[in-house]
Symmetry: C2
Subunit: 252 residues, 2 copies
Protein backbone atom coordinates (compact mmCIF):
# COMPACT_ATOMS: atom_id res chain seq x y z
CA UNK A 1 0.00 0.00 0.00
CA UNK A 2 2.75 2.43 0.94
CA UNK A 3 4.22 2.47 -2.56
CA UNK A 4 0.88 3.08 -4.25
CA UNK A 5 1.13 5.70 -7.02
CA UNK A 6 -0.47 8.98 -5.93
CA UNK A 7 -1.97 11.06 -8.72
CA UNK A 8 -1.96 14.80 -8.15
CA UNK A 9 -3.53 17.85 -9.71
CA UNK A 10 -3.04 21.57 -9.18
CA UNK A 11 -5.52 24.36 -9.79
CA UNK A 12 -4.87 27.91 -10.92
CA UNK A 13 -7.81 30.22 -10.23
CA UNK A 14 -7.51 33.19 -12.57
CA UNK A 15 -9.38 36.26 -11.54
CA UNK A 16 -9.14 39.72 -10.10
CA UNK A 17 -12.70 39.23 -8.86
CA UNK A 18 -11.51 36.61 -6.36
CA UNK A 19 -8.47 38.63 -5.25
CA UNK A 20 -10.59 41.77 -4.81
CA UNK A 21 -12.93 39.89 -2.48
CA UNK A 22 -15.88 40.72 -4.73
CA UNK A 23 -16.61 37.08 -5.58
CA UNK A 24 -16.49 34.09 -3.25
CA UNK A 25 -14.64 31.27 -5.03
CA UNK A 26 -16.56 28.02 -5.28
CA UNK A 27 -14.36 26.19 -7.79
CA UNK A 28 -11.65 25.07 -5.36
CA UNK A 29 -14.06 22.98 -3.29
CA UNK A 30 -15.98 21.78 -6.33
CA UNK A 31 -12.91 20.65 -8.24
CA UNK A 32 -11.32 19.14 -5.11
CA UNK A 33 -14.37 16.98 -4.49
CA UNK A 34 -14.59 15.92 -8.11
CA UNK A 35 -10.88 15.04 -8.19
CA UNK A 36 -11.25 12.90 -5.05
CA UNK A 37 -13.80 10.76 -6.85
CA UNK A 38 -11.41 10.36 -9.80
CA UNK A 39 -8.68 9.14 -7.42
CA UNK A 40 -6.64 12.31 -7.91
CA UNK A 41 -5.44 14.49 -5.06
CA UNK A 42 -5.65 18.29 -5.30
CA UNK A 43 -2.11 19.10 -4.18
CA UNK A 44 -1.99 22.89 -4.48
CA UNK A 45 -3.99 25.90 -5.59
CA UNK A 46 -2.92 29.35 -6.68
CA UNK A 47 -5.15 32.35 -7.18
CA UNK A 48 -3.52 34.79 -9.59
CA UNK A 49 -4.47 38.15 -11.07
CA UNK A 50 -5.56 38.74 -14.67
CA UNK A 51 -1.93 39.34 -15.70
CA UNK A 52 -0.11 37.22 -18.26
CA UNK A 53 3.19 36.92 -16.33
CA UNK A 54 1.34 35.76 -13.21
CA UNK A 55 -0.58 33.11 -15.14
CA UNK A 56 2.50 31.92 -17.03
CA UNK A 57 4.54 31.52 -13.83
CA UNK A 58 1.83 29.56 -12.04
CA UNK A 59 0.97 27.35 -15.02
CA UNK A 60 4.56 26.45 -15.83
CA UNK A 61 5.51 25.68 -12.23
CA UNK A 62 2.46 23.60 -11.45
CA UNK A 63 2.03 21.66 -14.69
CA UNK A 64 5.59 20.38 -14.34
CA UNK A 65 5.14 18.92 -10.89
CA UNK A 66 1.61 17.54 -11.05
CA UNK A 67 -0.09 14.95 -13.22
CA UNK A 68 -2.82 17.40 -14.13
CA UNK A 69 -3.31 21.13 -14.06
CA UNK A 70 -6.71 22.80 -14.05
CA UNK A 71 -7.40 26.48 -14.54
CA UNK A 72 -10.66 28.33 -13.94
CA UNK A 73 -11.70 31.73 -15.22
CA UNK A 74 -10.75 34.17 -17.92
CA UNK A 75 -12.11 32.35 -20.98
CA UNK A 76 -15.00 34.67 -21.80
CA UNK A 77 -15.29 37.16 -24.68
CA UNK A 78 -14.10 40.37 -22.97
CA UNK A 79 -10.77 42.21 -22.76
CA UNK A 80 -10.08 40.86 -19.26
CA UNK A 81 -10.25 37.25 -20.51
CA UNK A 82 -6.59 36.48 -21.18
CA UNK A 83 -6.27 32.86 -20.06
CA UNK A 84 -5.92 31.30 -23.53
CA UNK A 85 -3.23 33.76 -24.61
CA UNK A 86 -1.36 33.35 -21.34
CA UNK A 87 -1.37 29.55 -21.50
CA UNK A 88 -0.29 29.61 -25.15
CA UNK A 89 2.58 31.89 -24.07
CA UNK A 90 3.43 29.50 -21.21
CA UNK A 91 3.62 26.62 -23.69
CA UNK A 92 5.35 28.63 -26.40
CA UNK A 93 2.67 27.92 -28.99
CA UNK A 94 0.40 30.14 -31.06
CA UNK A 95 -3.34 30.75 -30.70
CA UNK A 96 -5.79 29.59 -33.36
CA UNK A 97 -9.56 29.51 -33.81
CA UNK A 98 -10.51 25.86 -33.24
CA UNK A 99 -12.80 24.86 -36.15
CA UNK A 100 -15.01 22.65 -33.98
CA UNK A 101 -15.35 25.41 -31.36
CA UNK A 102 -16.27 27.89 -34.11
CA UNK A 103 -18.97 25.45 -35.28
CA UNK A 104 -20.27 25.01 -31.71
CA UNK A 105 -20.48 28.78 -31.19
CA UNK A 106 -22.13 29.35 -34.58
CA UNK A 107 -24.79 26.80 -33.71
CA UNK A 108 -25.24 28.16 -30.18
CA UNK A 109 -25.55 31.80 -31.27
CA UNK A 110 -27.64 31.12 -34.41
CA UNK A 111 -30.78 31.90 -32.41
CA UNK A 112 -29.07 34.32 -30.00
CA UNK A 113 -27.99 37.23 -32.19
CA UNK A 114 -25.28 35.55 -34.25
CA UNK A 115 -21.63 34.56 -33.73
CA UNK A 116 -19.99 37.98 -33.68
CA UNK A 117 -16.24 38.51 -33.69
CA UNK A 118 -16.30 39.07 -29.92
CA UNK A 119 -18.14 35.78 -29.40
CA UNK A 120 -15.78 33.90 -31.68
CA UNK A 121 -12.95 34.97 -29.37
CA UNK A 122 -14.28 32.10 -27.25
CA UNK A 123 -13.24 29.66 -30.01
CA UNK A 124 -9.57 30.67 -29.63
CA UNK A 125 -7.34 27.91 -28.23
CA UNK A 126 -3.60 27.27 -27.89
CA UNK A 127 -2.42 25.47 -31.03
CA UNK A 128 -2.74 21.70 -30.61
CA UNK A 129 -5.56 21.84 -28.06
CA UNK A 130 -8.74 19.75 -27.89
CA UNK A 131 -12.10 20.80 -26.51
CA UNK A 132 -14.03 19.97 -23.35
CA UNK A 133 -17.76 19.86 -23.83
CA UNK A 134 -19.73 22.67 -22.25
CA UNK A 135 -23.19 21.33 -21.47
CA UNK A 136 -24.47 24.57 -19.96
CA UNK A 137 -23.64 27.31 -22.45
CA UNK A 138 -21.89 27.73 -25.79
CA UNK A 139 -18.17 28.17 -25.23
CA UNK A 140 -16.26 24.92 -24.66
CA UNK A 141 -13.43 24.25 -22.23
CA UNK A 142 -9.99 23.42 -23.57
CA UNK A 143 -7.54 20.59 -23.02
CA UNK A 144 -3.91 20.81 -24.03
CA UNK A 145 -1.37 18.29 -22.76
CA UNK A 146 -2.05 17.86 -19.05
CA UNK A 147 -3.78 21.26 -18.79
CA UNK A 148 -7.55 21.60 -18.48
CA UNK A 149 -8.88 25.12 -19.05
CA UNK A 150 -12.28 25.53 -17.43
CA UNK A 151 -14.86 28.31 -17.04
CA UNK A 152 -14.96 30.63 -14.04
CA UNK A 153 -18.72 30.46 -13.48
CA UNK A 154 -19.14 27.48 -11.13
CA UNK A 155 -22.18 25.84 -12.74
CA UNK A 156 -20.50 25.92 -16.15
CA UNK A 157 -17.37 24.40 -14.65
CA UNK A 158 -19.58 21.73 -13.07
CA UNK A 159 -20.88 20.76 -16.50
CA UNK A 160 -17.35 20.56 -17.89
CA UNK A 161 -16.24 18.36 -14.98
CA UNK A 162 -19.22 16.16 -15.68
CA UNK A 163 -18.07 15.79 -19.29
CA UNK A 164 -14.58 14.79 -18.06
CA UNK A 165 -15.76 12.27 -15.46
CA UNK A 166 -14.05 8.93 -15.85
CA UNK A 167 -11.67 10.11 -18.60
CA UNK A 168 -8.63 10.89 -16.40
CA UNK A 169 -6.35 8.21 -15.07
CA UNK A 170 -6.18 8.21 -11.29
CA UNK A 171 -5.55 5.95 -8.33
CA UNK A 172 -7.91 4.73 -5.69
CA UNK A 173 -10.14 7.53 -4.39
CA UNK A 174 -9.27 8.77 -0.93
CA UNK A 175 -11.75 7.49 1.62
CA UNK A 176 -12.49 9.87 4.48
CA UNK A 177 -14.57 9.11 7.55
CA UNK A 178 -15.39 11.41 10.41
CA UNK A 179 -16.00 11.06 14.11
CA UNK A 180 -17.00 14.02 16.25
CA UNK A 181 -16.95 14.83 19.94
CA UNK A 182 -18.04 17.71 22.16
CA UNK A 183 -14.49 18.20 23.37
CA UNK A 184 -11.86 20.90 22.98
CA UNK A 185 -9.32 19.55 20.47
CA UNK A 186 -6.54 20.61 22.84
CA UNK A 187 -7.77 17.97 25.31
CA UNK A 188 -7.33 15.14 22.82
CA UNK A 189 -4.30 16.34 20.86
CA UNK A 190 -2.07 13.59 22.27
CA UNK A 191 -4.41 10.71 21.56
CA UNK A 192 -4.95 11.92 17.98
CA UNK A 193 -1.23 12.11 17.36
CA UNK A 194 -0.74 8.61 18.77
CA UNK A 195 -3.61 7.17 16.75
CA UNK A 196 -2.21 8.67 13.55
CA UNK A 197 1.26 7.27 14.28
CA UNK A 198 -0.20 3.81 14.95
CA UNK A 199 -1.78 3.57 11.48
CA UNK A 200 0.54 3.77 8.48
CA UNK A 201 -0.56 5.84 5.53
CA UNK A 202 -3.52 7.35 7.37
CA UNK A 203 -3.90 11.07 8.08
CA UNK A 204 -6.12 12.49 10.81
CA UNK A 205 -7.35 16.06 10.52
CA UNK A 206 -8.81 17.85 13.54
CA UNK A 207 -11.43 20.51 12.84
CA UNK A 208 -12.63 22.42 15.90
CA UNK A 209 -15.89 24.34 16.02
CA UNK A 210 -17.93 26.42 18.44
CA UNK A 211 -21.66 25.83 18.18
CA UNK A 212 -24.69 26.36 20.44
CA UNK A 213 -22.35 27.83 23.02
CA UNK A 214 -20.21 24.69 23.18
CA UNK A 215 -16.81 23.62 21.93
CA UNK A 216 -16.44 20.53 19.79
CA UNK A 217 -14.29 19.04 17.06
CA UNK A 218 -14.60 16.66 14.14
CA UNK A 219 -11.75 14.27 13.45
CA UNK A 220 -11.43 13.22 9.82
CA UNK A 221 -9.48 10.07 9.00
CA UNK A 222 -8.21 9.85 5.40
CA UNK A 223 -6.49 7.20 3.27
CA UNK A 224 -7.04 5.45 -0.06
CA UNK A 225 -7.15 2.23 1.98
CA UNK A 226 -10.66 1.94 3.43
CA UNK A 227 -9.73 -0.87 5.83
CA UNK A 228 -6.95 1.30 7.26
CA UNK A 229 -9.41 4.19 7.67
CA UNK A 230 -11.86 1.94 9.51
CA UNK A 231 -9.15 0.54 11.80
CA UNK A 232 -7.85 4.01 12.64
CA UNK A 233 -11.36 5.35 13.19
CA UNK A 234 -12.13 2.52 15.62
CA UNK A 235 -8.85 3.25 17.39
CA UNK A 236 -9.73 6.95 17.77
CA UNK A 237 -13.19 6.01 19.08
CA UNK A 238 -11.64 3.68 21.68
CA UNK A 239 -9.09 6.24 22.78
CA UNK A 240 -11.81 8.91 23.09
CA UNK A 241 -13.97 6.53 25.16
CA UNK A 242 -11.01 5.61 27.39
CA UNK A 243 -10.46 9.32 28.04
CA UNK A 244 -14.14 9.75 28.95
CA UNK A 245 -15.31 11.58 25.80
CA UNK A 246 -18.50 10.48 24.09
CA UNK A 247 -18.12 10.40 20.32
CA UNK A 248 -20.50 10.58 17.36
CA UNK A 249 -19.65 8.44 14.31
CA UNK A 250 -20.11 10.47 11.13
CA UNK A 251 -19.25 13.69 12.95
CA UNK A 252 -21.23 16.40 14.67
CA UNK B 1 -1.34 59.24 -10.16
CA UNK B 2 0.35 56.70 -12.39
CA UNK B 3 3.46 56.50 -10.21
CA UNK B 4 1.52 56.05 -6.97
CA UNK B 5 3.05 53.39 -4.72
CA UNK B 6 0.97 50.20 -4.75
CA UNK B 7 1.08 48.15 -1.56
CA UNK B 8 0.59 44.41 -2.00
CA UNK B 9 -0.06 41.42 0.18
CA UNK B 10 -0.10 37.69 -0.47
CA UNK B 11 -2.01 35.02 1.40
CA UNK B 12 -1.03 31.42 2.07
CA UNK B 13 -4.00 29.28 3.08
CA UNK B 14 -2.65 26.26 4.94
CA UNK B 15 -4.93 23.31 5.10
CA UNK B 16 -5.67 19.86 3.83
CA UNK B 17 -9.32 20.55 4.66
CA UNK B 18 -9.51 23.14 1.87
CA UNK B 19 -7.62 20.96 -0.66
CA UNK B 20 -9.81 17.95 0.14
CA UNK B 21 -12.92 19.98 -0.61
CA UNK B 22 -14.27 19.29 2.88
CA UNK B 23 -14.25 22.93 3.92
CA UNK B 24 -15.23 25.94 1.84
CA UNK B 25 -12.59 28.64 2.33
CA UNK B 26 -13.91 31.98 3.53
CA UNK B 27 -10.64 33.65 4.45
CA UNK B 28 -9.59 34.67 0.94
CA UNK B 29 -12.62 36.91 0.43
CA UNK B 30 -12.57 38.16 4.02
CA UNK B 31 -8.89 39.10 3.98
CA UNK B 32 -9.14 40.56 0.46
CA UNK B 33 -11.94 42.88 1.53
CA UNK B 34 -10.15 43.91 4.70
CA UNK B 35 -6.93 44.60 2.79
CA UNK B 36 -8.80 46.80 0.29
CA UNK B 37 -9.91 49.04 3.15
CA UNK B 38 -6.29 49.29 4.37
CA UNK B 39 -5.20 50.40 0.88
CA UNK B 40 -3.37 47.12 0.25
CA UNK B 41 -3.98 44.93 -2.77
CA UNK B 42 -4.21 41.15 -2.42
CA UNK B 43 -1.85 40.17 -5.24
CA UNK B 44 -1.79 36.39 -4.99
CA UNK B 45 -3.03 33.46 -2.93
CA UNK B 46 -1.70 29.95 -2.54
CA UNK B 47 -3.48 27.05 -0.89
CA UNK B 48 -0.94 24.50 0.33
CA UNK B 49 -1.12 21.18 2.13
CA UNK B 50 -0.14 20.59 5.76
CA UNK B 51 3.45 19.81 4.71
CA UNK B 52 6.44 21.78 5.89
CA UNK B 53 8.20 21.97 2.49
CA UNK B 54 5.05 23.26 0.82
CA UNK B 55 4.58 25.98 3.43
CA UNK B 56 8.25 26.99 3.37
CA UNK B 57 8.29 27.33 -0.41
CA UNK B 58 5.14 29.45 -0.53
CA UNK B 59 6.12 31.65 2.42
CA UNK B 60 9.62 32.37 1.18
CA UNK B 61 8.55 33.14 -2.39
CA UNK B 62 5.65 35.36 -1.44
CA UNK B 63 7.11 37.28 1.50
CA UNK B 64 10.00 38.40 -0.71
CA UNK B 65 7.85 39.93 -3.41
CA UNK B 66 5.03 41.47 -1.42
CA UNK B 67 4.87 44.11 1.28
CA UNK B 68 2.93 41.78 3.55
CA UNK B 69 2.28 38.06 3.79
CA UNK B 70 -0.68 36.58 5.62
CA UNK B 71 -1.19 32.92 6.46
CA UNK B 72 -4.35 31.25 7.71
CA UNK B 73 -4.71 27.88 9.39
CA UNK B 74 -2.58 25.36 11.21
CA UNK B 75 -2.03 27.21 14.51
CA UNK B 76 -4.15 25.01 16.77
CA UNK B 77 -2.98 22.50 19.40
CA UNK B 78 -3.05 19.27 17.38
CA UNK B 79 -0.44 17.28 15.45
CA UNK B 80 -1.64 18.64 12.08
CA UNK B 81 -0.93 22.23 13.18
CA UNK B 82 2.55 22.82 11.80
CA UNK B 83 2.41 26.43 10.63
CA UNK B 84 4.62 27.92 13.35
CA UNK B 85 7.35 25.33 12.88
CA UNK B 86 7.22 25.68 9.09
CA UNK B 87 7.47 29.48 9.19
CA UNK B 88 10.33 29.32 11.70
CA UNK B 89 12.06 26.93 9.29
CA UNK B 90 11.37 29.30 6.37
CA UNK B 91 12.98 32.14 8.34
CA UNK B 92 15.81 30.02 9.74
CA UNK B 93 14.94 30.81 13.36
CA UNK B 94 14.02 28.67 16.35
CA UNK B 95 10.65 28.26 18.04
CA UNK B 96 10.05 29.50 21.59
CA UNK B 97 7.11 29.77 23.97
CA UNK B 98 6.17 33.46 23.92
CA UNK B 99 5.83 34.53 27.59
CA UNK B 100 2.91 36.86 26.92
CA UNK B 101 1.10 34.16 24.92
CA UNK B 102 1.67 31.70 27.78
CA UNK B 103 0.13 34.24 30.17
CA UNK B 104 -2.84 34.81 27.83
CA UNK B 105 -3.49 31.07 27.56
CA UNK B 106 -3.10 30.52 31.31
CA UNK B 107 -5.69 33.24 31.96
CA UNK B 108 -8.01 31.92 29.24
CA UNK B 109 -7.87 28.28 30.37
CA UNK B 110 -7.92 29.03 34.12
CA UNK B 111 -11.69 28.43 34.14
CA UNK B 112 -11.64 25.97 31.23
CA UNK B 113 -9.70 22.98 32.54
CA UNK B 114 -6.24 24.51 32.80
CA UNK B 115 -3.39 25.29 30.40
CA UNK B 116 -2.20 21.80 29.53
CA UNK B 117 0.94 21.10 27.54
CA UNK B 118 -1.14 20.60 24.38
CA UNK B 119 -2.82 23.97 24.88
CA UNK B 120 0.49 25.70 25.54
CA UNK B 121 1.61 24.53 22.09
CA UNK B 122 -0.51 27.49 20.95
CA UNK B 123 1.96 29.84 22.71
CA UNK B 124 4.81 28.66 20.45
CA UNK B 125 6.09 31.33 18.05
CA UNK B 126 9.10 31.79 15.75
CA UNK B 127 11.86 33.49 17.75
CA UNK B 128 11.54 37.27 17.50
CA UNK B 129 7.79 37.29 16.85
CA UNK B 130 5.12 39.53 18.38
CA UNK B 131 1.48 38.67 19.04
CA UNK B 132 -1.79 39.63 17.35
CA UNK B 133 -4.68 39.93 19.75
CA UNK B 134 -7.33 37.23 19.50
CA UNK B 135 -10.60 38.76 20.67
CA UNK B 136 -12.65 35.59 20.12
CA UNK B 137 -10.74 32.78 21.83
CA UNK B 138 -7.50 32.25 23.72
CA UNK B 139 -4.67 31.64 21.28
CA UNK B 140 -3.22 34.79 19.73
CA UNK B 141 -2.08 35.35 16.15
CA UNK B 142 1.58 35.99 15.44
CA UNK B 143 3.49 38.71 13.63
CA UNK B 144 7.10 38.30 12.55
CA UNK B 145 8.68 40.70 10.10
CA UNK B 146 6.16 41.21 7.31
CA UNK B 147 4.40 37.91 8.05
CA UNK B 148 1.03 37.76 9.81
CA UNK B 149 0.04 34.30 11.05
CA UNK B 150 -3.73 34.06 11.49
CA UNK B 151 -6.25 31.43 12.57
CA UNK B 152 -8.04 29.17 10.12
CA UNK B 153 -11.51 29.53 11.65
CA UNK B 154 -12.97 32.56 9.84
CA UNK B 155 -14.61 34.31 12.80
CA UNK B 156 -11.38 34.11 14.80
CA UNK B 157 -9.44 35.50 11.84
CA UNK B 158 -12.02 38.29 11.63
CA UNK B 159 -11.26 39.27 15.22
CA UNK B 160 -7.52 39.27 14.51
CA UNK B 161 -8.01 41.46 11.42
CA UNK B 162 -10.06 43.79 13.56
CA UNK B 163 -7.14 44.04 16.01
CA UNK B 164 -4.80 44.91 13.11
CA UNK B 165 -7.07 47.52 11.50
CA UNK B 166 -5.25 50.77 10.87
CA UNK B 167 -1.83 49.44 11.94
CA UNK B 168 -0.46 48.52 8.48
CA UNK B 169 0.90 51.12 6.11
CA UNK B 170 -0.97 51.15 2.81
CA UNK B 171 -1.90 53.42 -0.06
CA UNK B 172 -5.23 54.81 -1.06
CA UNK B 173 -7.95 52.13 -0.94
CA UNK B 174 -9.11 50.89 -4.31
CA UNK B 175 -12.50 52.34 -5.17
CA UNK B 176 -14.75 50.06 -7.17
CA UNK B 177 -18.11 50.95 -8.68
CA UNK B 178 -20.44 48.74 -10.64
CA UNK B 179 -22.90 49.17 -13.45
CA UNK B 180 -25.05 46.29 -14.70
CA UNK B 181 -27.00 45.53 -17.83
CA UNK B 182 -29.24 42.74 -19.11
CA UNK B 183 -26.90 42.10 -21.98
CA UNK B 184 -24.60 39.25 -23.01
CA UNK B 185 -21.06 40.45 -22.26
CA UNK B 186 -20.02 39.29 -25.73
CA UNK B 187 -22.23 42.03 -27.20
CA UNK B 188 -20.40 44.79 -25.37
CA UNK B 189 -16.86 43.42 -25.31
CA UNK B 190 -15.57 46.08 -27.71
CA UNK B 191 -17.03 49.05 -25.91
CA UNK B 192 -15.65 47.81 -22.58
CA UNK B 193 -12.18 47.42 -24.03
CA UNK B 194 -12.34 50.92 -25.53
CA UNK B 195 -13.62 52.47 -22.30
CA UNK B 196 -10.81 50.86 -20.32
CA UNK B 197 -8.19 52.10 -22.80
CA UNK B 198 -9.60 55.62 -22.64
CA UNK B 199 -9.10 55.90 -18.87
CA UNK B 200 -5.55 55.55 -17.57
CA UNK B 201 -5.02 53.47 -14.43
CA UNK B 202 -8.57 52.14 -14.42
CA UNK B 203 -9.47 48.46 -14.77
CA UNK B 204 -12.87 47.19 -15.89
CA UNK B 205 -13.94 43.68 -14.94
CA UNK B 206 -16.86 42.02 -16.69
CA UNK B 207 -18.86 39.48 -14.66
CA UNK B 208 -21.59 37.69 -16.59
CA UNK B 209 -24.50 35.92 -14.94
CA UNK B 210 -27.61 33.98 -15.86
CA UNK B 211 -30.59 34.75 -13.67
CA UNK B 212 -34.38 34.40 -13.95
CA UNK B 213 -33.84 32.86 -17.38
CA UNK B 214 -31.97 35.90 -18.68
CA UNK B 215 -28.36 36.76 -19.46
CA UNK B 216 -26.76 39.80 -17.88
CA UNK B 217 -23.44 41.15 -16.73
CA UNK B 218 -22.02 43.50 -14.14
CA UNK B 219 -19.12 45.74 -15.09
CA UNK B 220 -16.86 46.71 -12.21
CA UNK B 221 -14.63 49.74 -12.59
CA UNK B 222 -11.63 49.86 -10.22
CA UNK B 223 -8.91 52.39 -9.38
CA UNK B 224 -7.51 54.09 -6.28
CA UNK B 225 -8.54 57.37 -7.99
CA UNK B 226 -12.26 57.85 -7.36
CA UNK B 227 -12.59 60.65 -9.93
CA UNK B 228 -11.11 58.36 -12.58
CA UNK B 229 -13.56 55.61 -11.58
CA UNK B 230 -16.49 58.00 -11.88
CA UNK B 231 -15.34 59.30 -15.28
CA UNK B 232 -14.86 55.78 -16.63
CA UNK B 233 -18.19 54.61 -15.21
CA UNK B 234 -19.98 57.53 -16.90
CA UNK B 235 -18.18 56.66 -20.14
CA UNK B 236 -19.32 53.01 -19.93
CA UNK B 237 -22.90 54.14 -19.22
CA UNK B 238 -22.83 56.43 -22.27
CA UNK B 239 -21.40 53.75 -24.53
CA UNK B 240 -24.02 51.24 -23.32
CA UNK B 241 -26.82 53.76 -23.93
CA UNK B 242 -25.44 54.56 -27.41
CA UNK B 243 -25.52 50.83 -28.20
CA UNK B 244 -29.14 50.60 -27.02
CA UNK B 245 -28.55 48.79 -23.72
CA UNK B 246 -30.29 50.02 -20.59
CA UNK B 247 -27.95 50.02 -17.59
CA UNK B 248 -28.42 49.92 -13.83
CA UNK B 249 -25.96 51.98 -11.74
CA UNK B 250 -24.77 49.92 -8.76
CA UNK B 251 -25.18 46.70 -10.70
CA UNK B 252 -27.91 44.13 -11.07
Amino acid sequence: MASERIWTAALVVIGDEILSGRTQDKNVAQIAQWLNVQGIRLAEVRVVADREEAIVEAVNTLRARNDYLFTTGGIGPTHDDITVDAIAAALGVGVIHHPEAVAVLERYYATRGGATEARLRMARVPEGAGLIENRMSGAPGIRIGNIFIMAGVPHITAGMLDALTGTLEGGRPVVSKTIGSWVAESEVADLLREAERAHDGVAIGSYPFFRDGRTGANFVVRSPDEAAVDACLADVAERLAAAGHAATPGGI
